[in-house]
Symmetry: D2
């Protein structure tokens, strides 16, 4: 029985590519995303065509019990969850405080902070019993500094980062590796950046900075580092790292 | 009409002392706390006996509309809120993940993160119109690093810190001063530390480290710095600072 | 005998104003700077005209023994040094690596890092014996993030910040208060910013952002916070804080 | 002609293992250390026995011109330096300020900060011309927080970290990857930890925490991550990461 890599937030960007990478490495990838059954099926087929093993399901992580039931079903029917790639977030763009509703702020937290707590709550007991597990938490610049118009996103991501540290403090000595991976820049991902910008602006950005310029983070290259982190020897684990395109400006520098 | 200093979380520790300090400085202090009408009345009387002006009310900040209504009533009936001292939190002690319920995690966020968002949402429009305002946000070490057993507290406080930065980025140029004040140590406060430890252990700690040793943070001394921050000239505002007893070890150092 | 506030780097900006503020508070200010005897004399006269007590001397802090001799002379002839305002630095502007000589890099370190170590080395034993002392260390954004062209400045300031933390860890429990004060923005100071920009550009900047706009940090307002920090009760000391103009962008945010 | 991986500080711990790892990956390793010709020769032989290519020389990095001449000779006679593993430091143990001489403080800086500046100064022009290069900078917890007794080490490492950021800001867009690798814990290295503790205490520590417990960082496992970092695709580079044993406490947590 293959160990399972559970990807929460498995679109065509980081999540999907992490699923592919771990499937190629011998894991069964379980791909969850909120919508787009077609995109999900295609991802599963691509993995299978590549000789890997994967299943997927649509899941609204905000719903009560959704994450918990998914974990229970996988553990009961598919295999032991060894890796969780937590890739959910709610970047709602640049919004002034007055334009950020209480509801939006709460949804941001439910996706970016509470969901991670819930999946950890659901799966850590089993991982602890097995003495092994990995959480690969996709994070954002907003986890380390709050910028204008990012009230919801930054508060949620800042909570997420501190949660990663508390999980690490409790579970690393039990063999569970938690990694907080700060993606500091735009990812070449049609499902997220593409939707945020719209097709025309996304195409222009790719031409100007992406593709042969490598000025956008390529999700398949990000996935290579996720794979490395998950395979670090336990005597030398990384808890926090950043990733950005070589040509981009680090968040702590001004352009 | 005196300007109002609204204290959310006005116990006998930081909150109450900040109320006293601002009342002494000419503000009308509005003191809100969840319970203990007697303690609240006593605080109001102490301020009045000292020649100051104060009112108080019990308020459960988690309830829908509670913060918003309080802000509206003050603005309509008492005076312009110039200073908000946000002093709410939900330190539930050291709890393993398995012993931290989803409910507790959510309550931690509602008090420490969402409540600040709500009060900012409610009062910033008026402050912006008046071109002036101050948020003094009491924060904790958990806002900058997550320790074992602090899942709820650290996630909530980490979110709070990032929220302070987003508020600062949007509102500082509009004359609203947001300060994130990291209290890095035990405060000599009967309502919080005293309740957490119980009367006997609190008495022992005070004898060993507090009182003439000044090894616990004295809330009336903390309040002096809150007052200074609120009165900084706008050409030289502090956004983040830490406070700890001289004899204590900084959070980034090991004892 | 008045306690002494020793200002290293006492130009017309932060250093001079800190000297004035502490003289007004009852200290004898000893003002040291590398050059401009006339400017130094004027500063001393302004303090004396204001009813304060001050002396000054030109001193090249890089010279072997210069700092040490100054400390010894003050302690022997003037009075106990209670406060050191360390205000030296070597911001040489934006220089590519190829244009930063080994000599410049070393001078940056000698002024910004080594000088602080030397003055601490010279004066801490006496402060420790008296059980009291304060170091107010003017720092810069470069202490917390390295930007392009800042090789010398950032390396020196980053070292300075870590040195402040080691000094705090050793000496705070002995009653010596070390504060690292991050000045995050342009200071309205003719001796430093004025010289860097030249008179015409400095005049334009002041008109555009400074003066009634308060968009440059006013050194006399900065000095008020230095005074507050030096007077915090030992149960609630600040080790790190930032200062910036309300209208300016924090270093962690992009404009 | 094989590309060169230059290791400065090539003892039996991180440096030597990084040399081995890169030699195994097709680089010619140039190993430099201050003393122990025998140990150096053995390292070279081990690499050659493993089918790799290496040379070594004793070098005192503090001496004027030593780093610069080494770089020039390698570039002229061996091959293009593609990777620099900067592994020099001067951890002199826990020393109170009074016991840290000015000389020691300066040596700490010369090894940990200035040496990195010098090697970057010497080799970046060639790397820039070739549009490629990697700096793998071994760093320490002292780079991010100053602890008691670490005056020299922390000031030097804090400067080093800021220098890494300025180098990254200038050279990443030119294809030169700078990585600051924070080793947060004790490394199972006879040349450094072994010498600091002495043979008996080192043996005891290895038995208690190292070996099958994996509670000390194993340098050959650290080297795997150095290798990964050096091979990241330029669209997704890591600038900062930490490494610690799974069972160890992170620096920001208290034991």
């Amino acid at each position: 029985m293959r160990p399972v890599c559970l990807v929460l937030g498995a679109g065509a960007g980081i999540g999907g590519n992490v699923g592919k990478r771990f499937a190629r490495g011998g894991y069964h990838a379980v791909l969850c995303r909120r919508s787009d059954q077609e995109g999900l099926d295609q991802l599963v087929h691509e993995i299978e065509d590549d000789g890997g093993s994967a299943t997927g399901s649509l899941m609204n992580a905000i719903e009560e019990g959704a994450i918990e039931n998914t974990v229970a079903e996988i553990e009961a029917e598919i295999g032991p969850i060894e890796v969780v790639a937590y890739n959910l977030g709610a970047q709602i763009g640049d919004r002034a405080l007055a334009n950020t509703s209480l509801k939006q702020f709460e949804v941001g937290w439910r996706l970016a902070t509470f969901g991670l707590f819930r999946v950890a709550h659901a799966v850590c007991p089993q991982m602890e019993e097995r003495g092994k597990g990995v959480f690969l938490v996709t994070s954002a610049t907003a986890a380390v500094r709050g910028n204008k118009g990012q009230h919801s996103h930054a508060a949620a991501m800042g909570g997420r980062r501190m949660l990663c540290q508390t999980l690490n403090a409790e579970f690393a000595p039990k063999g569970i590796h938690i990694a907080h991976i700060l993606i500091d820049g735009a990812v070449d991902a049609p499902d997220t950046l593409g939707k945020m910008l719209g097709p025309e602006r996304f195409r222009q950005l790719r031409e100007a900075r992406g593709q042969e310029h490598d000025g956008l983070l390529l999700p398949e290259k990000i996935a290579d580092t996720y794979w490395h982190i998950a395979n670090q020897h336990r005597s030398a684990w990384t808890h926090e790292l950043d990733l950005r395109a070589y040509s981009d400006t680090a968040w702590w520098n001004h352009a």
